[in-house]
Amino acid sequence: MKPVGFALLPGPGELWVRRGIVSYIGLLVLVPFSVLVFVAFQDGLGAFWERITSDVALSAVGLTLWTGLLVGVLNAFFGTLTAWVLFRYPLPLKPLVSAVVDLPLSIPTLVAGVMLSILYGPASLLGQKFSALGIDIIFAKPGIILALLLVTLPFVVRAVEPVLEEVDPAEEEAAVVLGASPWRAFRTVYFPAIYPAVISGSLRSLGRAMGEFGSIVIVAGNIPQETLTAPVYIFGEIESGHPATAASVGSLLLFIALALHGIARIAEKRVGGRHAQA
């Protein structure tokens, strides 16, 4: 933090503002956070372990993790490509395309779920076509992945695009004049610049996927050990009066999310720290 000159040091009134804000954040975040972990572990580590390793819980967490990871990887690829296309090519109606990319941020995810279930549901034309091919989308795993892809679409795109804008196009020209192929030029000039953004955007979409409820609860069908995801399982446990189970699985998700956050930070530092400026 930048030290502030004497004239700008807080007066007594401002100190109260500072205390007030610290308490506000504490009450809002830290207290519920502590309560969750407390309830999860209050019956001991054994009870916690039992709750998170029940067949239903395990399969729910597993499903949430692998679909989240898949979506993270798919986003890393398609999101980067989308950002590149938006950055590089003079698309007609570019602002419109850009707004469409952001749309999932402003649609309530429940509505996203409704859209998908109408489009691919068993009653829809498209849904019946896929069923005839032996592929169920709604009330099955493909529906979960589609819903997650939809709601996490903007994350990588919005992380990568500003970084692309910052790259000096002369660097790419330099690569081309030196004889580099377009792919080599991209790898040399753009990739190292956007790599941390791809990682963090991808992890953000994974984080979002792990917590996604609204769209999933509609499209997944929520069949235990099949299409029941962790957030929906947690919701069910609260509904059926098992807050300790909900808190335990919730804590597990929380730890995983924190760990991912840590990995993202390290990945960014390792790449960004080496040659940050210039």
Binding site: A174, A175, L178, A180
Partner: protein
């Protein structure tokens, strides 16, 4: 490599960046494209590199047409204005990049890289990243990177624009020596006349996308063909004068003038260093200010009936004796050129 450029034109929207430019560059020479910013000189350079494509006209390298050859295949070295080093690669990787993409084996690549870093005086710094270098050092890395694949032609876009004045002077001398050593045909763009004249064999003056004049530095300085060139390459006084049988009259001053029309109204251009002042009453002018500028002194005076007049003298010159604010002086013009009036209308720098 010899270069021939014919009737090059390039338009960006409604802006005519390059307007019917033709010139030739002899193999092995060092040529400056000199002009004010926005004159189109950088665009010409970028067309030579293949980074822009001309709307019309052609580019020939060693007698072969290269207008439509891709930048990747032209084997040209380009030094960008702000270096454009690959910030995620080390200095050595930057220099070796052109060899890497040509699949030169690692051993030869490392040797050539080391050799070039030595050449540009950066031996031992190959492991650094560009961000860890000073502006002047980055400039030299950019040059080494451009030279590594042994280009047929070296293009430099405002190569010393982004370094401070002292380093710039060193780099200029160094570039000239390097050119003499390596011998690659080189063209550089600059808006700085000192730079153009002190480094190059030939200078091409560009203005509003047009080639105003090309020649050796001495030719351009002594015989500026247009008023624009005369104004651009020196600290000048420009008057509207009345010619009468080879004598130009400006207010109280009369002087014979070389070149140009010998009768009627003309544009009279006098360099600030082609003037002599003598203290004399009544004289023809009054000294307004005397401004010391390091090794030179600039004297501002008002010429009776014609307005302000600027002259420069060496700091300890005997010509400065008695020259002080308020003094009346006689003015002698040692060299003046005249140009037709119309030509001056649209070519002010």
């Amino acid at each position: 490599m010899s270069i021939r450029v014919e009737h090059l034109r390039k338009r960006f929207g409604s802006f005519q960046a390059v307007d019917d430019v033709s010139f030739e560059v002899e193999s092995g020479s060092l040529v400056a494209l000199l002009g004010p910013s926005g004159s189109g000189k950088s665009t010409i350079l970028r067309i030579l590199a293949g980074l822009e494509s001309p709307d019309s006209g052609s580019v020939w390298f060693d007698g072969e047409e290269a207008t439509h050859v891709h930048a990747r295949s032209r084997a040209i070295g380009f030094v960008f204005q702000h270096y454009a080093l690959f910030r995620h690669l080390t200095v050595a990787e930057n220099v070796g990049f052109g060899l890497l993409v040509r699949n030169v084996d690692p051993k030869t690549r490392a040797e050539r890289t080391e050799q070039l870093l030595e050449l540009v005086g950066l031996g031992g710094l190959g492991g650094r990243y560009p961000s860890q270098l000073s502006g002047g050092q980055r400039q030299r890395v950019a040059l080494a990177r451009a030279l590594a694949p042994e280009p047929r032609l070296l293009l430099l876009d405002e190569p010393f624009g982004a370094v401070d004045a002292k380093v710039r002077e060193e780099l200029r001398q160094w570039l000239r020596r390097l050119h003499d050593e390596v011998g690659v045909t080189s063209i550089f763009v600059t808006h700085d006349q000192d730079e153009a004249f002190s480094v190059s064999d030939r200078v091409l003056i560009i203005n509003h996308g047009k080639l105003e004049q090309s020649g050796t530095p001495a030719e351009i300085l002594d015989e500026p063909r247009t008023e624009f060139v005369a104004r651009f390459v020196g600290d000048v006084n420009v008057f509207t004068a009345q010619m009468d049988k080879g004598i130009a009259k400006v207010g109280a001053l009369q002087t014979p003038a070389q070149s140009g029309p010998s009768d009627g109204q003309v544009q009279l251009v006098v360099r600030s260093y082609d003037l002599k002042f003598f203290r004399e009453d009544p004289g023809v002018a009054t000294v307004e200010r005397v401004v010391p500028l390091g090794d030179r002194v600039r004297v501002h005076a008002t010429l009776d009936g014609a307005g302000s007049l600027v002259a420069q003298f060496p700091r300890r010159s005997s010509l400065l004796r008695g020259i002080e604010a308020g003094a009346r002086i006689q003015v002698e013009v040692t060299y003046a050129r005249t140009y037709p009036l119309e030509s001056g209308r649209n070519s002010a720098p």
